[in-house]
Symmetry: C2
Subunit: 330 residues, 2 copies
């Protein structure tokens, strides 16, 4: 049985390039005790992948050169030598960018593919969903009446964080690129307002919409937008750093110029590492599943196809081409 894999073969400088990866076909290796063979149906594309392509270790070690590119995938068990999994089970986990993955059973999670589409376990019911859920609730501590600002508001995590904020009784302002994305954020997702960063002076726009300041800033983008948000903090503001997608492909990472504003605001800056919340995943999945079934939150996927298109699809994340959760169908 043959296995098509996407290997990381070069560390990108700046934007990810096709040649940073190599696509190879190798035989599927036999599984050993405790392992599971998974056939991937879906591969997740997430901004965090850009960090995983760098050398060294941050919260997780970088992918080694020559190794299968790390990714969350979802699919079905083909063969199992782990007691928790049987042939035919729907699962998701860090399977890598490949057709077949041989993984230790303990890194997989079962998915209920009857309740929701399997691909949703890579998005709203998976790592990005948990990031939005715990990032907003456990780091942002929203209180009814708070004003929440969310960047990357049309993206997977931002769109969900903002909708959860609305469910918690907050005023939610999004930031997104372009009129159509802003329309989606306000009209379809129900945010109270959306700032088009391609058109507006972001700092002035925040001030105009939220003259009393922002209680929570949920940051997916970093860079100038983060600095603009820092100029508009309410007393006791919580700045939750979820990502810095504007910066990941930029060798000269922009510093946070206005960091002293956290002092005068008597606020805190912290971040969300979703891996820390995996033991509490069921809390999030239970709430999110219920909200989805009740129609209280909306979820949108951007589906692409073909393993060989992985590098180009990954780039879409950083150019802002995608709407909602970007996934690759195999």
């Amino acid at each position: 049985m043959e296995n098509k894999q996407v290997l990381l073969v070069r560390r990108p400088e700046g934007m990810v390039k096709d040649d940073d990866f190599s696509i190879v076909t190798v035989p599927v290796v036999p599984i050993t005790e405790g392992q599971v063979l998974v056939q991937n149906e879906w591969i997740s594309l997430d901004p965090a992948m850009r960090g995983w392509m760098n050398a060294g270790t941050t919260y997780i070690r970088g992918v080694a050169l020559g190794e299968v590119m790390r990714a969350f995938g979802a699919g079905y068990v083909v063969e199992s030598r782990h007691p928790d999994f049987a042939k035919g089970d729907a699962v998701q986990g860090l399977t890598g960018v490949q057709q077949y993955a041989v993984v230790e059973g303990h890194v997989l999670t079962k998915a209920d593919a009857r309740a929701f589409p399997l691909s949703w376990y890579l998005g709203i019911l998976g790592m990005p969903g948990l990031t939005a859920y715990f990032g907003l609730l456990d780091k942002g501590h929203p209180q009814a009446g708070d004003t929440i600002l969310v960047s990357g508001a049309a993206g997977m995590i931002g769109s969900l964080a903002g909708q959860i904020g609305k469910l918690k009784g907050c005023t939610v302002i999004g930031i997104a690129g372009g009129r159509e994305k802003c329309r989606y954020v306000t009209e379809e997702l129900g945010f109270d307002a959306c700032i088009d960063y391609k058109e507006a002076d972001v700092a002035a726009a925040i001030k105009a919409i939220a003259p009393k300041g922002i209680h929570i800033y949920f940051d997916n983008v970093g860079g100038e937008i983060l600095d603009a948000a820092m100029l508009n903090l309410a007393t006791g503001a919580r700045v939750v750093i979820c990502g810095a997608i504007s910066q990941y492909n930029d060798a000269a990472f922009n510093g946070l110029k206005n960091y002293m504003k956290i002092v005068s605001a008597r606020g805190t800056i912290s971040g969300i590492i979703v891996f820390d919340y995996f033991p509490r995943a069921q809390e999030a999945i239970s709430d999110l599943g219920r909200w989805l079934q009740e129609g209280r939150i909306r979820y949108r996927e951007h589906i692409t196809e073909g393993l060989e298109n992985f590098p180009a699809v990954l780039r879409m994340l950083f150019t802002g081409e995608n709407y909602g959760k970007l996934i690759l169908k195999l």
Copy 2:
């Protein structure tokens, strides 16, 4: 009765200059109901004064042009129309840089000039002492066994924060400029180590001394040293921003390049605004006074003289010339 005053007449660009101030002599105005006339004996010089010279409002409004320069002062009541104060009382408060201050009684605090020298109420028993005390204890939350890094370690606030850290059972590493300051920090103040930022690669030096990382970084300087500290955070690190003295005179305020490290460290960045703690001042003064009397902390003043020297003395703060608390004797 004549009153010599130092007025702010120009907003400084870059380093503070003599011409940013004007020294005038005016008659002392009569006090009205609720006011107190104080003869200043001591004027405090504090890094925060540089921020007060800028236009606009941060945590406190900027000093207006033509207004007496804001400063903490300590002296004796000459005349009182406030029930809490009588002639001869030793007091401290925001009296401004002038010989005589007419102030509302409620902004003054009585000082016990028999227990400690009056000038100490501008330092270890005043605003800077409270800053170190509450900044470290209430924002840093030191636990016995933690490793604390303190920049500006030979300065008023840094030297005290580090000594309090030692009293709480922590390992304390200082950062200071020059061999003699580092000797003072380790040999006289009892820090476990001190990094001379003028000689060392600060990030590498922190890593060598604290290979497991820093639990608390108490930052008085900002700039490159803050970024170096961010590279060495332990899991759950608390970064407490107390000041950014390296940046105050720099029009191009350096951003915090490595802010994303707070995410991977699962840490928090917050700041200390001492005004928020004035209602709890007695807690700090009681502990600090006892530690001083028991000889468990050391305090050093750098005394200068003459109101007319105020601009030059203020500059000493930013060039690192002073040891310990810088004060001006009238």
